[in-house]
Symmetry: C2
Subunit: 411 residues, 2 copies
């Protein structure tokens, strides 16, 4: 007889659905759709030539080592490079504070596995990153949403959330996915102080920190935490687990990211990774190190910044021109996304259906709200499409929005 | 204040220890140790030149695609290649029956996540693969051990285990890790029939199936299951989930493996992978496809076979000469491991301590027994070390064994 598989699956699978964004990525494989949906870097900025040279060097100079099994923690020269990079931002760490993961999504998954018992509460911004919710739903997390505005999480509302006794606070301080907003300095300091007061750790997710196009770099939460507790030159032993990635600086197809944390946390994450996939590709780690070791990334990030800045500017300019008066949107200082808000009661999913007929796509915002709401919002990516396609796509989207708003009684 | 991290970790982390094998891998990084401990392929057989050419072609011809995000299921041409490979063994599948994972360890982890509720029973061979136990311990699995001999799991003892109501049966039919034994044809057929009778799925883990050095290839369990239910040319919808990997055929540093299963299972695994790490490296998948697409693997596997056959033969010959009369060991027809058994009451962990002083290493067998026992056993790898090092290492190990046996009253 055939196996009735659906009755064999574990309890944790019952709540698991496919990702809206991943399913959208499939739609956007149709070449005639202008997609503002995914969170893809511009393929034009991938340093293909540098990769090719690095692959050749790695395979010529130590091919057997690059193709062999390696240690779970990650390639040591790469971790040393990341430690030096982190120290630039005045956070004192060594390679034992660093774990290489297969993309930041894996870091989020491991942190869920490490911390979340079924029913545990997690503090998130509202809206927050969908991938984190997907990772943590599998462990039975519940969420306390703290509202955010253009300056990030409204920290005045954090204290009540902390009195629930959450497992940790999850925050994307720079050019947040999905909203594009940046947590301001005063709020960062209060976040650190409140988290310390209540003894609740912070997960700082920072994929876009270096992709700033205007304004001043703000100190990271992990740095402010080190400063708050007067760590000085000592190894970091604070309250923050910091995540970043090569996906936006180099190439997401490598699946390379990292966690910076106190050693006690890293040691447990290493055990988790042993059981989960042994280690991240030795070859990719060595190639990334080879590409980055001579300071190339510092130059390359300038190219990325100027490319994305242009795209953001074109998009904002076109939105000013094409979007109906009832629409509001964020004006991010960096990153890859902005956030559109229609009047309450207008449904972004309805807009998407019509938009796809007109060959333009975005992500409806509801999925970024773990406790409901946000049906009138949308995430719009500006990094992937060329300026020409952005002009055309925003024109189409503007027309779609006007049509839907009219249908909803606006004109 | 500092965070008392150990009280923040989730319940599932309490039982998680570091892998004996991984910790050993660290020891074996000392260059003067002859290690029969790890499960490493011989670096001499890695096709470095072919990789270099493939990297260059992939980056030249579609570099931007190879460095970009891609779909969770895996690179379609690679899945098509695996489907054709599977059909050679008369199992009718298409790319939708296949998921690419970041190594087989990840497939084991995902299967645990998909199937295991805390307390569920899993049927395993005794001894069984340590990595599977590590993956499933995190989900709270309990194990029913079915003893094995030189012909694999003693299927006569399986029926009682099935009446416990296990979630699935886990079996490595070819040149098992750790024992080196191969499940014979009659037992394979009975395994399939019993699993069907009790409605319990089988996970067939087959990393070494193509690494046979003597004797005839035996049909896989997934094929026998298809035959048992008269699938004919229809797509496979049976009771077996089949795992294999590029780690032993190509290079483990790529972290590339695959699952073959009915579509209902693959769809759930895809959702699991979305939440866990989005997808396996696009670049590595395209490079592996580029290396393999012209039939190179069929030629390459012959090189691996002849290399490992020589090493196995040298090891068996040296053991015949150097090991004390009280030792017994398996004579595997393929794979990478053989299994040593000392008299009951002699402790392999004690032997290892002395062996490491003499600069030779293996893995004590206790860890491969989830329900205890096996303290007198050891796993010995023959694929990694050169014939010269095997001669020297077995000489050292033989002397160590004689010393320990003498201490234990044997002479």
């Amino acid at each position: 007889m055939q196996t009735p598989w659906e009755y064999r699956f574990a309890h944790r699978m019952q709540k698991m659905g496919s990702s809206v964004i991943r399913e959208l990525l499939k739609l956007t494989e149709q070449p005639d759709i202008i997609s503002f949906g995914g969170g893809l870097p511009a393929p034009e900025v991938f340093p293909v030539k540098e990769f090719q040279e690095a692959c050749n060097r790695v395979l010529t100079e130590h091919g057997a080592q690059a193709l062999q099994y390696s240690t779970t923690e990650g390639y040591r020269p790469l971790r040393e490079m990341i430690a030096r990079h982190t120290e630039r931002y005045k956070v004192s760490v060594n390679p034992d504070n660093i774990l290489i993961t297969s993309g930041s999504q894996q870091a989020l998954d491991f942190l869920g596995r490490l911390f979340i018992n079924r029913g545990d509460f997690i503090v998130v911004e509202s809206p927050t990153y969908l991938g984190a919710l997907q990772a943590w739903n599998a462990y039975g997390a519940q969420y306390i949403s703290v509202p955010a505005d253009k300056d990030g999480m409204i920290v005045d509302e954090l204290e009540a959330a902390l009195r629930v006794g959450p497992k940790f606070i999850y925050v994307l301080p720079n050019f947040q996915n999905p909203s594009g907003s940046t947590l301001n300095l005063e709020r960062r300091r209060r976040l650190v102080a409140l988290a310390d007061q209540y003894g609740v750790p912070i997960i700082e997710d920072d994929p876009y920190g270096q992709l700033r196009y205007d304004g001043e770099h703000l100190p990271s939460v992990v740095y402010l935490d080190a400063q708050y507790r007067n760590d000085g030159d000592h190894e970091y032993t604070g309250n923050v687990i910091y995540l970043s990635t090569f996906s936006k600086l180099l190439a997401p197809g490598l699946r390379l990211a990292w966690v910076v944390a106190p050693q006690k946390v890293i040691q447990k994450l290493v055990m988790t990774k042993q059981a989960a996939d042994l280690h991240t590709s030795s070859f990719n780690q060595q190639v990334a190190y080879e590409v980055g070791k001579g300071g190339f990334l510092d130059e390359h990030v300038k190219v990325i910044r100027s490319t994305y800045k242009e795209r953001r500017d074109v998009m904002l300019e076109m939105m000013d021109e094409m979007f109906p008066a009832e629409m509001r949107w964020t004006r991010p200082q960096g990153g890859m996304f902005l956030w559109g808000m229609m009047p309450e009661g207008v449904d972004a999913a309805e807009v998407l259906k019509i938009a796809i007929e007109r060959k333009v796509a975005f992500v409806p915002g509801a999925a970024f709200h773990p406790n409901g709401g946000g049906n009138n919002t949308m995430r719009i990516n500006f990094s992937y499409s060329s300026p020409e396609l952005i002009r055309e796509g925003i024109t189409r989207l503007g027309a779609t929005l006007k049509e839907v708003l009219k249908k909803n009684g606006y004109h």
